[in-house]
């Protein structure tokens, strides 16, 4: 603990995390205050502020001490002392890459995707989205987290409702109501956790105090966990709470879809880790069979439904359901590899699915259709586009050498130790993913092109630049995922130690021969970790 304080003391002279939240927020305010006569300034100014956030996030990753499993860059200020609420933020290996992902993706899509109308409010909402998402990932106070979790909703809702496609109002409202319904229970559970689980010294909403204290009774904790879990599972989403997602994704403007896939869905799985496993270890163990089941059902259901879609964007949306199901499986397998793999997969899903939505959006710009039936032979007209699409698609499928493989592989290996049957079923989802994506690719890019297909323009330079970071990240993290893993592993180990201490669940650890007593399926152990 002393080393933690010393380490963060030197680094936190500049409140980096607060800056990551407030720079985009201030940017949003400035953009909103721009004079009406100069709407053309909105996007450059907004992009600048978002990019400053992105640069700060990269600096954060650079300064982050991967060996330290605790929270770093901690900043705590009193906010509402009457309720024991403080502005408490910090980052560890689990949240680090999500913060970086958020802060980098938003400036890219702001710069790269044209909103077509009303650029001023659009830019302001995007910046607010960035601020809120980063805030949710770094919040270490339940109240603060809930505020950020909800704040994200409003800009996303307005982005879908204002800049989306034909069914946008229905989709936006559905998105809002689903998520609000989940967070209604979340709020009650947060209050209950704080009221009943606070130490005698007074009510507190501080995550660390509550998680280390573990003062809730067993049944209360389980009920609270159930409410937390439902809120997060709506956000993930898992089958059967997922029906808002295809609509929201399909009707959202391209930038909205990208941020939704890359960032907002992660709030659900991140929440399950930070506010599920960490805050309610015993209850997580208790509910794990159900959660693993819904995760695996999501993998299979999402894959099969994706294969049946006629709309390319809807297909990508359903593939998200499948990918996120993997992450839920990994989290509730309770092994270091699976949890670490889940975190990695969150980042990689953000990269590959975000890029897929960008690509589909670019295709729509050209053809004004996303129907697979109406497209054919795009490859010959737009070879560069097809090439990028192929690469990103393969990364999404999880081909070795690209980023998607690392997370999925770790999840499967880690989960096999504790949930072999479910893992085997989930592994078929990998095959299905290859099936639906390759099939769609074949129909859209191969075959005889019609006249309209032949005139589809190839990628412009700006679009290539927009896609370049995604492509580079997909290849680089596929070939050399070590930096990612290095930061995630200590945090995941620490989380599981905490989980083990309070849940009674024995976490099998490949590096530690003493603990292994039911890991007879030990063939996997040598594959990783070294």
């Amino acid at each position: 603990m002393g080393s933690l304080l010393a380490a963060s003391g030197s680094a936190s002279d500049f409140p980096l995390l607060n800056a990551l939240i407030f720079v985009p927020a201030v940017g949003a305010l400035l953009v909103a205050l721009l004079p009406r006569s100069r709407p053309d300034l909105a996007r450059p100014l907004g992009t600048l502020f978002a990019a400053i956030g992105g640069a700060l996030a990269l600096a954060l990753a650079w300064q982050f001490d991967a060996a330290d499993a605790g929270f770093q860059f901690v900043s705590q200020q009193s906010w509402i002392p009457a309720l024991g609420i403080s502005w408490h933020v910090g980052v560890d290996g689990i949240s680090l890459w999500l913060v970086v992902l958020t802060s980098v993706v938003v400036p890219i899509v702001l710069a790269g995707v044209d909103p077509h109308h009303d650029p001023k409010p659009y830019t302001a909402w995007m910046l607010l989205l960035q601020a809120g998402s980063v805030g949710a990932f770094v919040a270490l106070d339940l109240f603060l987290f809930f505020v950020m979790f909800e704040v994200v909703l409003v800009p996303m809702y307005l982005l879908i409702a204002g800049w989306g496609y034909e069914g946008r109002r229905y989709a936006a409202t559905k998105f809002f109501i689903y998520t609000m319904a989940g967070s209604a229970l979340l709020l009650v559970a947060i209050v209950a956790t704080a009221v009943l689980g606070s130490p005698d010294s007074g009510i507190t909403f501080d995550l660390q105090t509550l998680a280390e204290g573990q003062l809730l009774g067993e049944n209360t904790a389980r009920l609270c966990f159930a409410a937390f879990a439902i809120a997060f599972l709506v956000k993930v989403p898992v089958v059967p709470l997922h029906t808002w997602l295809p609509d929201a994704h399909t009707e959202a403007p391209t930038a909205g879809s990208v941020v939704l896939a890359a960032v907002l869905l992660k709030l659900g799985t991140y929440g399950l880790l930070r506010f599920g496993l960490y805050l309610f270890p015993e209850a997580s163990d208790w509910a794990a069979p159900v959660l693993v089941t819904v995760g695996v059902v999501g993998v299979i259901w999402g894959a099969i439904t994706a294969a049946m879609q006629r709309d390319l964007k809807r297909l990508v949306a359903y593939s998200s359901v499948a990918h996120m199901g993997f992450i839920v499986l990994g989290i509730f397998a309770f092994t270091a590899q699976a949890v670490g793999g889940g975190v990695i997969q969150m980042v990689n899903h953000g990269i590959s699915t975000g890029a897929l939505f960008l690509l589909v959006g670019m295709l729509y710009e050209r053809r004004h259709t996303r129907q697979i039936d109406e497209l054919a032979g795009i490859q010959s007209a737009a070879p560069v586009y097809a090439g990028v699409f192929t690469l990103i698609m393969l990364s999404s499928v999880g081909v070795p050498g690209l980023n998607g493989f690392v997370g999925e592989f770790l999840i499967l290996i880690g989960s096999f130790e504790t949930r072999p049957v479910w893992t085997i079923i989930a592994a078929t989802g990998v095959i299905l993913a290859a099936l639906y994506l390759l099939w769609a690719y074949q129909r859209v890019f191969h075959g005889p092109p019609a006249a309209a297909d032949r005139q589809t323009a190839d990628l412009r330079r700006g679009e290539l630049l927009t896609l370049a970071p995604f492509v580079i990240a997909a290849v680089a993290l596929g070939v050399y995922p070590k930096p990612l893993l290095n930061a995630v592993e200590p945090a995941a180990d620490k989380l599981l130690e905490h989980f083990e201490e309070y849940s009674g669940f024995e976490v099998p650890e490949p590096g530690d021969p003493v603990v292994v007593n039911h890991g007879d399926d030990a063939g996997e152990h040598d594959e990783d970790g070294h």
Partner: protein, 525 residues
Amino acid sequence: MAQIQDVFVSPTVDWWVLVPQIILVGAALGLLLVASLAPRALPSWVATITTIATGAAAAIVAAVQWGMWGSTPRPTLNGAFVSDGFSLLLTVLIGAGVAMTALVAHSALDRYDMAPPEFAALLLASAAGAVVMAGANDLIVLFLGLESLSIALYVLIALAGRRASARESAMKYFVLGAFSSAFFLYGVALVYGSTGGTNLSGIGAFLFGTVRETDYLLLAGIALLLVGLGFKVAAVPFHFWAPDVYEGAPSPVTGYLASIAKAAGFAALARVLYVAVFQQSTAWKPIVVALAFATLAVGAVMAICQNDVKRMLAYSSISHAGFVLVGLSAVPAASGLVQWTEGGGDAVSSSVFYLIVYSFMALGSFAVLSVIGAELRSPEPDASAHALSRYGGLARRRPVLALAFTVLLLAQAGVPLTAGFVAKFEVIRAAIGASGYVLAAVAMVTAVVSAFAYLRVVLAMYAPEGSTDDDDDIPSARAGRPRWGGLPLTSVFAISLAVAVTVVVGVLPQTLLEWSRDAVLSIIL
């Protein structure tokens, strides 16, 4: 028998305690006097300024009194009236509410053909009634306050009598209000019969001081008091008047009805429940919980069915009343003598917090409605100007007004960083502290349902060009006035104030939380 011939001893009066009421009543009478003696000498702005000044003065005096004795209650008139943190905080709210209502009404008086001095006098008289209700420590005084508030309101609504809807509205409110007053009075009689007193603290002390069997007379009395006050705060199933009256009344008056009148009703309810009959909480808690369930559910579900924005806000006001009831139902699990002396604790402070926040949101929302109503006025006088379709594209015509309305609506929906969220949070916290988990969960779910109703309005306002068919009927759409241009400045000021309170309390709620913590009920023994 000798005692009966005792001479009447007049109680000592602590005049300083009664200054807010005196200011309000004095200004009301003065305005009426001047208006009747010299009708031409009184332009409408004089009445408005007087009302605002009076409201502000009452609020400031209450604030000063809070500073002087806020934490130690100061009773007067033989303990029939008490000035404590609870009543003073509500007096500040009532004063602010009066000032805001006067600001909003100023530009609307002509439109509704309401005479300015009469309007101002009635407004101030009703506010005086509300202040009395907030501090009444005696059932008779409570009834006096209730009646001054109500009678002034009946006339206030009927003042816009050129419109059939206002007349209908006033009549409905009057007939049902008279019924509820009768219920309340009967309840007072039964409680008096059972406990031998009308002093609230006295009743409480009597109930804690005696061991008794189940007293059906008392229970019936409590039930009737609940009916009477339930009507005032429009709790389901006593809510049927509210949507019609709110819809028919002029928008500024509706705002006042929905905020201050409701707050006064809840103040009385809190005092009766937590000071007088707290010992019987096992009997009335289930009733309050049931009222809360019904009020939340009906308010939320009916709100989403409405195609008229004003009517939607009326139902949403009902569901907000449900939230306050959730707060009031948070009786601590062991409700004995010790809890009684805490004066309601979390239950009362969270309800007060909710009432204050909600009052500003409601006043602001109806102020927006009043402004829009003037703009969207249709040729036939009784047609509703507030059909949802007429709000289409408001964001293009009036971007700032639409933004302000959006903030107020999102706050009512309970979106974080607005005051509405903190208020809901407080109430939920109180409910959970008293083990009301199911009620808390249901309350939050109904909040989501009503969020849908608010979102419909927001969506309509921000609908893109061409999606609304009747853009051409609306004069200002053609005129294309910029931003605030042409809007009455007084209303603009009131709306800005409401939005400012909503946002500031949403981000930094600490101060108001502390105030509401201090605003517990005092028990005078």
